[in-house]
């Protein structure tokens, strides 16, 4: 997982509330067998409408998303996070997130910051005045800046630390590799192993 310290990239105003994970990525994309390549699934139904925000060339390479409250509610599909990440988003800011989505995001390196609703609205206005303007996210300082506006966002300490260190769950566990190896040395020798394969005949 890539470390997240400071990221600067195109700010995208998605001026809508209560976007569930079915809208972030429709169920048909769940049949795939890969873990990447979900960028085409992101907001798939909406992107078929010409005036959807990501169809505006100014926002096509969006990296920092600003949305209304209750983003990522609904089904637990991790694909919602993969779709945002594969499209190129590094951070999403909303007044409130769906719990499971937020948990999944933290594990995949997608920053989810909570900022008050009025601040989101001011940022939307600032972006609309200068479409294509960058947002700068500073995770050390817990701030996001768009033009003149700098907002402090909320993120829990544990997720923040993991993002700063670039640690996914596996990376985190592998820090304890010595403990795993030591445990393995203590396991009784009669415990089952699948290899070499044995069958009844």
């Amino acid at each position: 997982m890539e470390k997240f310290e400071t990221v600067t990239g195109t700010a995208v105003p998605l001026m809508q509330n209560t976007i569930d994970t079915d809208q972030i990525i429709p169920a048909v994309f769940l049949k795939r067998i890969t873990k990447t390549g979900y960028e085409d699934g992101l907001f798939n139904l909406w992107r078929q409408e010409p005036d959807f925000v990501l169809n505006d060339p100014a926002y096509a390479d969006g990296q920092v998303l600003f949305v209304g409250p209750d983003f990522g509610v609904g089904s637990s599909r991790e694909h919602a996070v993969w779709a945002l990440r594969d499209y190129g988003f590094r951070a999403v800011f909303s007044p409130r997130f769906g719990d499971i989505f937020r948990g999944n995001a933290g594990k995949q390196g997608l920053l989810t910051g909570v900022i008050p609703e009025d601040v989101v609205q001011r940022i939307w206005e600032a972006i609309l005045e200068q479409p294509g303007i960058d947002a700068t996210v500073d995770l050390h300082a817990r701030t996001v800046t768009v033009g003149e506006i700098t907002a402090v966002f909320e993120i829990d300490d544990y997720t923040r630390w993991r993002l700063l260190e670039g640690l996914d769950d596996i990376g985190l566990t592998l820090r304890d590799e010595d403990a795993i190896t030591a445990y393995e040395a203590r396991r009784p020798s009669w415990l089952p192993t699948t290899i070499p394969a044995r069958t009844a005949d």
């Binding site: 795993i180 445990y183 089952p192």
Partner: protein, 484 residues
């Protein structure tokens, strides 16, 4: 579970296994790092995990603790022909390619050890007391029947186990479900678990590991214990388990991967220390009387919506809880049933005998014992799907295939089949099925299909009479005596 369990403190079976698998104790509310002894892999939940490993340039830490089989998508007819559905074929192909690339042992369609992942582990002797077992599948709880700690995990966790052979886990709560007494002939493990779920509800064991105890559980063979643990998830439990005893040891002994010689003695000595200590406390307790139990069936669209076969479809108007009431109303509409209808008057279009709940040899024997020498009811489609290719062979050696065919049933190849209809084995819209599987959710066995969960004995009697029935309802020649 207690944070620290001293040597003298009485512990439950679940706590003992947990304690024995802590690689690193979590501090301040962080999860414990738990070692995984056996990782079972199938085609549906593994492709993204393999892909994740590939991206990160990682491999599997312990190929020797990992085994894969194909089950959810496999056809049960013409298994030598290419799979027609492109999604199913892609998932199977991906598993084969991934197993090859990463070096994972795989049992593919056509192989003697292929079958439903939860049937394959125990049959190879890989599932044994005291181990931790995970799989990207909720019915992993099946393996708890051996006194193992076994639970389903998500795709990210599958990748985590592949890379590290561990999982960060928060301790579970414990629940004792005690079933004392003696089951009457014709009443089985399936009836016990359906009655337990009806009693505590589909969320009744949320966050808990259930330990099934009591004389009625002790009297069950391993196949029955697996049926019960399998459906723990349907009560919301993380896992279900039964303390290992002579029945367990007897089942494991001599299986391909069971310990041998001095190893066997060491293993059994350890396994004998596992049962819950006297005085150990559970966070919750439930009691069920086996003597009073009758064959049990579901009427609704969740596994908790069940009654005795002798009863009638309940009236939602009598339910007090508004959520239960509206869910019952919706269920009856979907099931096309009127309150007050006697369960025994409900006619079915199909009978499905299979799934990881009831597709082992004991289950097939029970089914065959009832249908032997009889003909199925006219117009009822009867599908019998063994849980694994080996179970199929063993059943054929006993002539069960012939009994099924003479009865008018279809004898199929192994897999999940109509349990979830990912392959072509599906109900047509509106069709009603008596099924030995574990989930009666809307559309589970095919879009618009209606499922009644039943035991193999009830499935057999229903196939004979065409309406929901138990062997008690059959005329002579009676394989089972008449009971009051």
């Amino acid at each position: 579970m207690p944070e620290t369990a001293g040597a003298a403190a009485p512990r439950t079976l679940a706590e003992k296994i947990w304690d024995a698998h802590v690689v690193k104790k979590g501090e301040q509310g962080e999860p414990d790092l738990i070692y995984i002894d056996l990782h079972l892999v199938h085609e549906v939940t593994s492709p993204q995990a393999f892909d994740g490993l590939r991206q990160a340039g990682r491999g599997l830490r312990r190929l020797d603790l990992t085994i894969a089989t194909e089950d959810h998508n496999t056809p049960t007819l013409a298994i030598d022909r290419p799979i027609a559905d492109p999604t199913s074929r892609a998932q199977i192909d991906a598993l084969r390619e991934n197993a090859e690339e990463f070096g994972v042992r795989i049992h593919s369609l056509g192989d003697k050890e292929q079958g439903i992942v939860h049937v394959v582990g125990p049959q190879l002797g890989l599932t044994m007391p005291g181990v931790t077992v995970v799989c990207g599948d909720s019915h992993t709880s099946t393996h708890g029947a051996f006194g193992a700690m076994a639970f389903g995990i998500g795709t990210s966790e599958v990748e985590h186990v592949m890379a590290t052979q561990t999982l960060p886990l928060k301790p579970f709560k414990t629940m004792a479900v005690t079933v004392d007494g003696t089951l009457r002939e014709g009443v089985t493990a399936k009836d016990i678990i359906l009655a337990v779920i009806a009693k505590i509800g589909i969320g009744g064991a949320q966050g808990h590991v259930i330990e099934y105890r009591g004389s009625a559980i002790r009297a069950l063979g391993m196949d029955g214990r697996m049926t019960i643990c399998n459906m723990s998830i349907e009560a919301g439990a993380r896992a279900g388990m039964v303390a290992p005893d002579e029945t367990t040891f007897e089942y494991v002994k001599g299986r391909p991967h069971a310990p041998q010689g001095a190893d066997w003695d060491a293993a059994v000595a350890y396994w004998r220390t596992l049962p819950t200590d006297d005085g150990a406390e559970f966070d919750a307790e439930v009691v069920l009387d086996a003597d009073a139990l009758e064959p049990f069936v579901t009427w609704g669209t969740n596994p908790g919506q069940g009654v005795s076969l002798a009863d009638a479809v309940p009236d939602p108007a009598h339910l007090i809880d508004p959520v239960e009431k509206s869910s019952a109303e919706r269920a009856l509409e979907y099931m096309d049933l009127a309150p007050g209808t006697r369960m025994k008057d409900i006619a079915v279009d199909a009978v499905f005998m299979g799934s990881c709940t009831n597709s082992r040899l004991e289950d097939l024997r029970a089914f065959a014992s009832v249908i032997k020498g009889r003909k199925k009811a006219e117009g009822v489609r009867v599908m019998v799907v063994p849980g694994s290719a080996r179970v199929r062979l063993e059943a054929e050696a006993e002539g069960i295939d012939k009994i099924v065919e003479a009865f008018g049933g279809e004898w199929r190849f192994a897999g999940c089949s109509m349990c979830l209809g990912m392959n072509p084995d599906q109900l047509a819209p509106g069709e009603r099925c008596a099924s030995t599987s574990n989930r009666n959710f809307e559309g589970r066995q095919g879009k618009g299909g209606r499922t009644h969960l039943v035991s193999p004995l009830v499935a057999a009697a229903t196939a004979i009479r065409g309406t929901l029935s138990s062997p008690w309802d059959l005329d002579a020649p009676e394989p089972v005596e008449e009971h009051a």
